[in-house]
């Protein structure tokens, strides 16, 4: 092919002969096959052959070559999970059946568990409740010490486990009913009244106060302070879920509310739930790093 005695033109720059092809001015050099390319191909092929020998590689009908290393990705994944799990088990096991008071009082355990709890909270709860438990419209503040369902760690753990209006069979159930049957005026004065409760500017002798006592006190308490552990929040404190301006309250009254807190029983282990309960408690006490 590359005999020098034929009449194919030579490229003046490189001194190489061309292939003699010419496509409207495009020509090609008859450069011999690059050695490096051939060696690279051989090397890459050797790498592949080694990989095929060591790893599962070629199908053989209903089976495949297993490879000398005998690797199985399912087993590897389970293995990896076990290792991490075991590494955690040292301190995590203490949260299986918690004595919250003892745990919270043990600085060594909390030093290990604290950062892990923060991550768990960020990964599972922060999307709704905020990183620091600061809540947002529709999602209650967890860091303020006001509770709908109770604030001791065992109760918080139960709330997390079963959820509120969630999917767990034991889920907590709560509903702010619709008061769409009230007249527009009644709702309006009631809304003003409720909006004034936190600042204690509501008039206890007004007709609105009477409406409240008749319709609302069963759930929210006679003094609107909640605390009946039925999911109805205090309306007299600074903590709000949806908003306690007259307009939002009016919407709440007209349309009702049905907040949903997912049940975590199927997704987190009991130890993780207990850990989170302690974390939430410490958030509300200003003691956890958010």
């Amino acid at each position: 092919m590359s005999g020098a005695d034929d009449d194919r033109p030579v490229d003046p720059v490189t001194g190489y002969q061309t292939t003699g092809h010419n496509w409207n001015g495009i020509i090609e050099l008859n450069t011999p096959m690059s050695r490096i390319a051939v060696w690279a191909l051989v090397l890459a092929f050797l790498y592949s052959v080694v990989a095929w020998i060591l790893l599962p590689a070629w199908p053989t009908g209903n089976h495949y070559t297993r490879g000398l290393l005998g690797l199985d990705q399912g087993a590897e994944a389970v293995d990896g999970y076990r290792q991490i799990h075991d590494a955690r088990q040292g301190w995590m096991a203490r949260f299986d059946d918690p004595d919250f008071a003892a745990l919270a009082g043990d600085p060594a355990v909390m030093a290990e568990a604290g950062p892990a709890a923060t991550r768990l909270f960020h990964d599972n709860c922060a999307a709704c409740h905020g990183d620091d438990g600061g809540g947002g419209p529709g999602f209650p503040v967890l860091s303020d010490g006001y509770w709908m369902w109770g604030g001791d760690p065992a109760t918080i753990a139960e709330t997390i486990r079963v959820g509120i209006n969630g999917t767990d069979p034991d889920t907590r159930i709560s509903e702010m009913p619709r008061f769409d049957w009230m007249s527009r005026e009644e709702r309006a004065i009631l809304a003003d009244y409720v909006a004034g409760l936190p600042a204690q500017s509501a008039d206890p002798g007004s007709p609105a106060a009477q409406l409240f006592a008749d319709n609302c006190a069963t759930c929210h308490g006679d003094t609107a302070a909640g605390g009946l552990d039925n999911g109805a929040p205090s309306l007299a404190d600074a903590s709000v879920i949806y908003g306690q301006d007259a307009e939002t309250v009016n919407t709440t009254l007209w349309a009702g509310r049905h907040g949903t807190m997912p049940s975590w029983s199927g997704r987190l282990t009991p130890a993780e739930i207990n850990l989170l309960a302690l974390h939430v408690l410490r958030l509300s006490q200003g003691r956890a790093t958010p």
Binding site: H21, N22, E28, P56, I84, H85, G90, E112
Partner: protein, 553 residues
């Protein structure tokens, strides 16, 4: 357009336009509502517009008989026009979705503007709209010149260009309405897929017929690549899109494949879309425009052969590297990984062949921004294929998968390689078709070059950082066995990179806008007269032999 067609061709075109309008009417009437009806209306509108366009010329004088002594470049010109339009749409959508990732709360309360619907507008707009039109336009141009013959007929190139763009428009408008098959890079629904098959077969037949009439004993490398692109894309498209429509009057369908087989078919398609759409065709472009622009011979014919067959053979195997550590059996992953590593050799052989071709023309690379586009394309082709083979190694992929490293790799390939070679080709073709020596504004080409290079570097480097940061944050455990970072931490850490990416993308888009402006200006400028050698062989005095006329420097 119509003055380049003979009276008979105009009548055929008129008939086809009526068929298209009827097809659209039938679709709209059958579906009555939803995406398919809208698409019917779009097809009908285009059909009616073409009817009017052609009807007006049915009784005009016949086309100049001397046109047969020329290459048929009108479809190429139209294709370049569409390339630039789609560049604006696709890259505009890219910058928009990039901005949405930084300011997610800026999403308007209108479903068509949500990230999920705009993202495929971006990918379809750039890959098929921008890349596809560039491939079709340049393939006609290159084919005629390397075969030294005119396109086999004048109707089918128009059918291909218009039909292909109708497919792109159907795709993009469908996503905005929420119509998608949910297969990445194959989102359009069943009727669009069937339409594309018709267009593609026409394209293939046209290519083969023209090639069969060639006046050259050998088929030039560029044509091997274009043919591989056309042929393999047809095969991939048909197999991956096999689906059963829910009804013939609606846009929805179910794929015939299920479970992990479906995933494997999808990524066999997906990766070969990269290989044969985003690589093979553009290598064809490189193999033509690089030697033409640099005036240098292809460095090694043998290396071309090694690369072509290596790329074609190895690529077909590697789709499974997109499914590492999934339900796909381990052995399939091993094969994907090893073939990806072997694939590096022919890929680098191509890149090396291109760079070695520039030997003896480095002064031109320095002075000519157009040639520099091609040079940068070859370099990024080398970089992104090296990166690809590296990412295909399972343990590396366990770090990079699901992260922005993949997005960085994608755009080092698409911005650095695909878009650069397209712009290099455009800057070579457009003056040529306008009968000019150079673009209207060479300074604007220079500006475009630097905008494109800096945009690409900012984009790619920020995504590398983003991806590696994400990957490491997700897998770091503290010594007590708990994750060191929450997912939210890793999302927050992305903010600066996403902002940078948006800026880089905006620079790149700005370059494309400059290019469009410059092309328009060039096409409108007074022609200076085409070169006499740029004719089919049948219309030429004996061709000059290589180097004969090359004046000594």
């Amino acid at each position: 357009m119509t003055d380049t067609l003979s009276l008979r061709e105009r009548r055929i075109g008129f008939f086809l336009a009526i068929l298209l309008a009827l097809l659209g009417l039938t679709m709209a009437a059958a579906a009555r509502h939803g995406a398919m009806a809208v698409h019917g209306v779009i097809a009908m509108a285009i059909g009616v517009a073409l009817i009017f366009l052609i009807a007006g010329s049915l009784y005009d004088p016949d086309a100049d008989p001397a046109r047969k002594d020329r290459y048929y470049d009108a479809p190429t010109q139209a294709g370049i026009f569409f390339t630039l339009i789609w560049a604006m749409i696709g890259m505009g959508a890219g910058v928009w979705v990039a901005a949405l990732l930084y300011w997610p709360e800026a999403t308007p309360l209108w479903p068509a503007t949500s990230f999920g619907r705009l993202r495929p507008v971006h990918t379809t707009g750039v890959i098929f709209g921008f890349g596809g039109n560039a491939l079709i336009a340049t393939s006609f141009y290159v084919l005629q010149r390397t075969a030294r013959t005119r396109l086999a007929d004048a109707i089918s190139p128009w059918f291909v260009v218009i039909g292909f763009n109708l497919f792109c428009v159907w795709g993009v408008t469908g996503y905005l309405m929420g119509s998608t098959q949910s297969k990445e890079y194959a989102e359009p629904e069943w009727y669009s897929d069937i339409w594309l098959v018709i267009v593609w077969v026409t394209y293939f037949v046209l290519y083969m017929r023209t090639l069969a009439r060639r006046n050259e004993p050998h088929i030039y490398v560029a044509n091997w690549y274009y043919l591989a692109f056309i042929l393999v894309v047809a095969m991939l498209h048909i197999v991956n899109n096999l689906a059963l429509p829910v009804s013939l009057t609606g846009a929805r369908s179910f794929p015939v494949w299920g479970g992990v087989q479906d995933a494997m078919i999808q990524w066999w398609y997906g990766h070969n879309a990269v290989a044969f759409f985003l690589t093979a065709g553009f290598l064809g472009m490189l193999y033509y425009f690089l030697p033409v622009r640099s005036g240098r011979p292809i460095w090694s014919y043998r290396l071309s052969i090694l690369s072509f067959w290596g790329i074609t053979f190895f690529y077909i195997w590697v789709g499974s590297h997109h499914l590492h550590y999934t339900a796909l059996p381990y052995w399939v992953q091993t094969l994907g990984m090893t073939f990806s590593v072997m694939l590096l050799v022919p890929s680098w052989a191509s890149a090396g062949n291109a760079l070695a071709t520039l030997n003896g023309a480095w002064h031109k690379v320095r002075d000519d921004a157009t040639l520099r586009f091609m040079f940068v394309a070859a370099v990024f082709y080398g970089l992104s294929t090296f990166e690809g083979s590296f990412l295909a190694i399972r343990p590396v992929n366990s770090l990079s998968h699901y992260t922005d490293w993949t997005v960085g790799h994608v755009h080092s390939g698409t911005l650095g390689w695909v878009a650069m070679i397209v712009f290099g080709a455009i800057y070579t073709i457009v003056p040529h078709l306008s009968g000019r020596e150079a673009m209207a504004s060479p300074r604007a080409v220079e500006w475009h070059f630097w905008l494109a290079v800096s945009g690409t570097l900012i984009y790619v480097i920020s995504m590398w950082n983003a991806g590696i940061t994400q990957g490491l944050m997700w897998r770091t455990y503290s010594e007590n066995g708990a994750l060191a970072y929450s997912f939210l931490d890793s999302v927050r850490a992305m903010a600066p990179y996403y902002l940078l990416r948006t800026i880089g993308g905006a620079l790149f888009l700005a370059g494309a806008v400059v290019c469009t402006w410059n092309c328009r200006k060039t096409m409108r400028a007074v022609p200076m007269g085409g070169s006499a050698s740029d004719r089919p062989l049948s219309a030429q005095t004996p061709p000059r032999r290589p180097f004969d006329a090359e004046p000594a420097e």
